[in-house]
Amino acid sequence: MVQDNTDNWLLRVRGLTKIYGDPISNSIAYTGPKFGSNICPETDAIVACAEIDFDLYPGEVLGVVGESGSGKSTLVQLLYFDGEATGGEVYFRSFEDGDTNILRVTNQKKRYLRNHLMGMVYQNPRDGLNFKFSAGGNIAEKLLMANEFNVGRIRNRASSLLTQTEVPVERMDNAPATFSGGMQQRVQISKAIANNPPLIFLDEVTTGLDVSVQAKVLDLIRGLQQDLGISMIVVSHDLSVIRMLTDRTMVLKNGRIVESGLTDQILQDPQHAYTQLLVSSLL
């Protein structure tokens, strides 16, 4: 790829691997798209994703597409420290100038990374929001983690974030449980961008929403991306989401990258048999 020559990356991922169960040395060699399975035939260890290499550039939107169980959600969960990686290296330019493998830092530093430098929007709002707190309280949580201890400033920031994501500000002090699915998702997005992180992850954000709300949320995400220049990793099994949002795409199958490149190129001229199947099955 052309970008490999530049030294301008924001996130550099090398050999990222996650294995559940007891792997043996051949577990990775005996699984993958070639074998059509994630499960090691020797020990039944599940190779959720293995040998993932990619670079993400500032302001870029990277799509991750694949079928259920292909390891695409695992990938962002590892990067957001929701799970612990089995192996691999991840470097993040905004953290210690990209010199440290962020998978091997202390829990405090991981928490700092999660709260200050990254944001995550989950498919299910219950994973990303605390339903005991109000919508404003959820955003306040992120701001408080960044040591903002002034209620007036917290409320100003929260209402401006909610305005930005088109949630009615007068609902700020209501519980997210009283919101519609689309609104919950927008509150999650507000929470994710509360501390102006350079990178956010979107894990199947629009999957549970009906089509008109999907379009609105996607519009919102694209608008925010253009206004704030945030880098994003977008996980979806929906090719129309990928087409609308992303610059570059990786196709995952059985925990491996089978194809990657510019989104238009992948959708117009898929090379790998699996990608061809995926594109041809687009309704």
Binding site: R111, G136, E141, L144, F149, N150, V151, D173
Partner: protein, 294 residues
């Protein structure tokens, strides 16, 4: 008394056996060394139910000696049923002197209050703590609260204060107001009213918080900074008793009980019974009063 004496001989001094007392003292030393940190301890069986002051008894009985003078209060009162029974028990098991006078006591065991009278460096105050984990309200898993303490990850605690402010226009926590000890751990000051919370900071006295049911001890050593959590623009406040006078002594500036009368009226009485008695006799013991920020 013969019967009582027989009973006493049937048990070790202070009811708890020596090696267990030693263990509890060591845990207390650890808790003093790490102010605000909850140290797990053995919490041996006592002849009262857990949740009725067993933790307080463990701490008291491991600290007490024959020369000590023991005072115990429950809701500010020396004469409540729980206080009387625990006082009798400690007396029978140790033969120590007991007192109602805060100034005379060397060990003060308490539930719900810190005495109004300022405690000295000759005294130790022991709290009976029902729930030592201040984060329990925002996080139900023990392993997670421990992790949160270890990493000083207190955002959820702060959010609960924020939510309280948003709902009620003030931080509404009647008892057990969260405090930060020595700039590090957040702990519960036991369910004492906000009125008593400022007394913990830079006090001359050792504060021992023991929770028997939950098997945890935490301490605030003398001269330690204890800050109630507050926002830059929403400050910690103690209870306001503006214009309220004690109906017995006519005094203000103390934590008041509100008493409803048969005719529907109400009156206020100073909660700390020993403090009230001293005022009645014409004295005015030393107090540390906190002035609410305007």
């Amino acid at each position: 008394m013969i019967e009582a004496k027989k009973f006493q001989q049937a048990y070790n001094y202070g009811f708890i056996d020596e090696s267990t007392k030693k263990e509890i003292r060591r845990k207390m030393l650890k808790a003093v060394a790490i102010p605000g940190y909850q140290v797990p301890y053995s919490s041996p069986e006592m002849p009262i139910s857990r949740g009725w002051g067993t933790g307080g008894l463990h701490a008291t009985l491991s600290l007490i000696g024959p020369d000590d003078t023991f005072k115990i209060i429950d809701q500010g009162s020396d004469a409540s049923v729980n206080a009387c029974n625990l006082r009798n028990f400690v007396k029978r098991m140790t033969g120590c002197k007991t007192t109602f006078d805060t100034a005379d006591a060397t060990i003060v065991q308490t539930r719900h209050r810190i005495p109004e009278e300022v405690l000295t460096d000759k005294q130790i105050i022991v709290f009976q703590v029902p729930q030592p984990e201040i984060l329990r309200g925002v996080e139900r898993f023990e392993f997670k609260t421990r992790q949160m303490h270890a990493e000083a990850d207190y955002a959820k605690m702060w959010v609960s204060l924020y939510e309280s402010y948003v709902k009620f226009g003030a931080i509404m926590r009647g008892a057990g107001y969260p405090v930060k000890v020595n700039g590090r751990y957040i702990m519960t000051p036991s369910p004492i009213p906000r009125w008593d919370v400022p007394n913990l900071s830079h006090s001359d006295t050792l504060h021992v918080f023991a929770a028997g049911r939950e098997k945890r001890i935490h301490c605030v050593p003398p001269h330690t900074l204890v800050e109630p959590l507050e926002f830059e623009d929403v400050k910690f406040m103690v209870e306001k008793f503006e214009g309220i006078r004690c109906s017995v002594t006519g005094e203000g500036d103390a934590f008041m009980d509100e008493i409803y009368e048969a005719d529907g009226g109400r009156k206020h009485v100073i909660n700390d019974s020993n403090f009230l008695d001293k005022l009645k006799l014409g004295g005015r013991p030393n107090q540390r009063l906190f002035v609410n920020p305007s």
